[in-house]
């Protein structure tokens, strides 16, 4: 055992009440508290590994495999990037799992002082309990926001720079970015491909298809298009083009800059919500495991369920679901994460809610859970 030094290395303060003027009673945390809180979270290796794997690792590995597969066998494997891959990764993985890992980080930040026995030491410093709570918010966000941003940037970069060079619309190779008249002109100049390849609900449906080489072919035993005059072909192709243009104009080689920015902000907001709610819930309950489970249940089970199945007597309660509010704020141009959303094609099946109400719901969740967590922090016996 080492020897205790008797040297008064720590000088005694003046015995008069020399109280430091550091605004210790203020609810605003200082920079050092935030920095050390970041350090405390960052040193949790398991948690950080999970955050990095989900936000950066999974998209990176998925895109890397696709890049390699496309480079080795381009005819069997399509390009690694592009609009479809972007939407699949963002809505399928980053949105849902980003929420869950952010919630896990929040639950950790909200409970570890208690479970590790540090809360008592912190309270004894005389620092405002509110400041102790609020220091966790910027600290956690300083970790989760950059992680989400890095993962999302990788996805965007690959999806833009490794995007397909030809637009594959409904299995038909179409030049990208055409205007309505341009699309009509293309259809008139490729009438057989347009008629046989694009979906059409009108009366002029012809039993034919487009093969893998982009050639129009009749189904076996049918006359196909051979008996139609060139004028009739052009007229039918024009009809087909007009019916398909609205869907075509939402199909891109790669996501636009505006879509990427909006989507990035959207998934960052989702991660922020996950963190703040997790923080408040864990602070309220004083533990980590149960709040994490509850957050997963909220995101994976309750939100999809109550976002779609409208129950007339509970419709306003359903509108209070933060996941539904986020689905309604989904950027136009993305497919619907939970079967609905802002800009995807088709009829939205979400429980209806205005964007204003959605924003209010999100603010209420952020403020409400922060208030609950802070209240418990102040009232809790240490």
């Amino acid at each position: 055992m080492t020897t205790v030094s008797n040297d008064p290395a720590v000088s005694v303060a003046a015995l008069a009440n020399g109280v430091p003027s550091d605004n210790r009673g203020s609810w605003i945390p200082n920079g050092a508290m935030i920095r050390t809180r970041i350090m405390e979270l960052r040193k949790r290796r398991g948690l950080m590994a999970a955050l990095i794997v989900v936000n950066i690792g999974i998209p990176t590995i998925f895109l890397t495999v696709r890049l390699i597969a496309h480079a080795v066998a381009p005819k069997s494997y399509g390009p690694a990037g592009g609009y479809d891959i972007f939407t699949t990764l963002v809505v399928g993985i980053m949105f849902v799992f980003g929420f869950i890992v952010a919630a896990t980080l929040g639950c950790t930040a909200g409970s570890v002082d208690l479970t590790d026995g540090m809360f008592r030491h912190m309270v004894i410093t005389g620092r405002s309990r509110l400041a102790l709570y609020f220091a966790r918010i910027p600290a956690g966000l300083a970790i989760i926001i950059p992680l989400v941003a890095v993962g999302f940037t990788i996805v965007c970069a690959v999806c833009v720079f490794a995007a397909p060079t030809k637009l594959d619309y409904q299995g038909v190779s179409v030049p990208p970015g055409l205007s309505a008249s341009g699309f009509n002109n293309w259809a008139e100049s490729h009438p057989k491909v347009a008629i046989c390849g694009l979906p059409f609900k009108g009366p002029n449906g012809v039993p034919c298809y487009v093969n893998g080489r982009g050639q129009a072919r009749p189904y076996p035993g049918t006359p196909g298009l051979s008996k139609l005059s060139p004028a009739k072909l052009k007229a039918d192709a024009l009809l087909v083009a007009k019916e398909n243009y609205s869907a075509y104009e939402r199909t891109f080689l790669y996501p636009s800059n505006a879509l990427m920015i909006k989507t990035g902000l959207w998934i960052e907001l989702e991660a922020i919500i996950g963190f703040i709610v997790g923080l408040g819930l864990a602070s309220l309950m004083g533990q980590r495991t149960v709040p994490v489970v509850l957050m997963i249940v909220l995101e994976v089970i309750l939100t999809p369920l109550f976002s779609h199945a409208a129950i007339p007597h509970l419709i306003n309660a359903q509108r209070g679901l933060v996941g539904l509010a986020m689905a309604h704020l989904e950027p136009g141009g993305l497919p619907r994460g939970f079967g609905g959303g802002g800009g995807g094609g088709g009829v939205s099946q979400l429980v209806p809610e205005s964007a204003t109400v959605g924003v209010c719901v999100i603010i209420a969740w952020l403020v409400g859970w922060t208030a609950l967590g802070a209240w418990r922090m102040v009232k809790r016996d240490a």
């Binding site: 020897t3 040297d7 290395a9 720590v10 008069a16 405390e40 290796r45 026995g117 008592r120 912190m122």
Partner: protein, 325 residues
């Protein structure tokens, strides 16, 4: 050890009339259980003060109330003359404390844990980390993870955490727990050196021998109430005295003394008598015993006034309270 009264001890401090810890009517209930019962406690400044009591007496609860870890149901209190909880930020700025077993973030090093705590204190606290670690002998292990620390090392780290605020008052709850004899010795030396610097150390413990060696004054708590408090020397002076009489005929001597009020309890031993004098009996009682025995023809070879230890006094006081209830 000084034999000053509590008033004299307080007057020796630069802040006249102001106590390090002062409570009046302090009460804390948990349902029907009164853990802290109308406690009147005065801890003088600049001394080591022992807060003693049997297990479950309410020692830790009182400390938790003082530090704002839990709220009081009634009463008033102040730390270093600053009323709490109204001004707890000001009061605790110059207080360091260990309550129960000191626990820290196990995945961080001792130094990193202190950095977290220093960040919640004033700006200068960060500069005290190295000296605090050195003072508790933890410099060599400061960068190891706390999960690898022994109980004794965590106790030391707890004391280092207390020193970050350059405290005028340290409240240590069972600081000897988990320490080996050498560690207890070092801890005792450190407490004494802290007191020598002018700090006040309030020490809760059930190790009465350690308290007697370390503290100037004590308070005894039982069933949530402070039943005695004051300088140790003063308290023991008023304790029941025990006298050993080495004489020629112990049985006859016992019969003679039993007819008087000089002995509360008289035991015959192989070498004589052991007599417990009534509380408050002075040295004249010993002379009277000698006179009675000699006048009755009993040869008295030796009279020995036995020193009352804090432990035996503590047991007398607490068991007396138990008997009365």
């Amino acid at each position: 050890m000084s034999a000053l009264t509590i008033d004299e001890m307080s007057r020796s401090d630069s802040v006249k009339g102001s106590w390090a810890v002062e409570t009046h009517g302090l009460t804390k209930r948990f349902g029907d259980n009164v853990a802290v019962n109308d406690v009147e406690l005065l801890v003088p400044r600049g001394c080591a003060f022992g807060y003693l009591g049997p297990n479950g007496a309410g020692k830790t609860t009182l400390i938790r109330v003082l530090l704002g870890l839990t709220h009081a149901d009634a009463g008033t209190m102040s730390l270093l003359g600053v009323p709490v909880p109204r001004h707890r930020d000001r009061a605790l700025a110059r207080v360091g404390a260990i309550v129960d077993e000191p626990r820290f973030h196990g995945h961080l090093s001792g130094r990193q844990n202190l950095e977290i705590l220093a960040a919640a204190r004033e700006r200068e606290a960060r500069g005290r980390i190295a000296s605090s670690l050195e003072r508790v002998g933890m410099t060599q292990r400061a960068d190891d993870r706390v999960s690898k620390y022994s109980m004794g090392m965590r106790q030391r780290l707890g004391v280092a955490a207390c020193l970050l605020g350059d405290p005028q008052l340290l409240i240590l709850d069972e600081p000897m727990n988990g320490l080996d004899p050498a560690g207890m010795h070092e801890m005792r030396d450190m407490i004494l050196s802290l007191v020598a610097e002018g700090r006040t150390v309030m020490l809760s413990s059930h190790l009465l021998d350690e308290v007697e060696r370390t503290c100037d004054a004590v308070a005894i708590v039982d069933n949530g109430k402070v039943i005695r408090q004051g300088p140790i020397a003063e308290l023991l002076a008023g304790a029941a005295m025990e006298v050993h009489v080495d004489c020629s005929s112990p049985e006859r001597a016992r019969t003679i003394l039993a007819a008087t009020t000089l002995g509360e309890k008289i035991d015959v031993e192989t070498t004589g008598l052991s007599i417990h004098l009534p509380s408050g009996a002075g040295r004249d009682a010993i002379a009277e015993i000698n006179r009675l025995l000699v006048e009755d023809g009993i040869s008295v070879y030796r009279l020995e006034e036995l020193q009352v230890s804090l432990e035996s006094w503590f047991l007398q006081v607490t068991s007396r309270l138990g008997d009365s209830e």
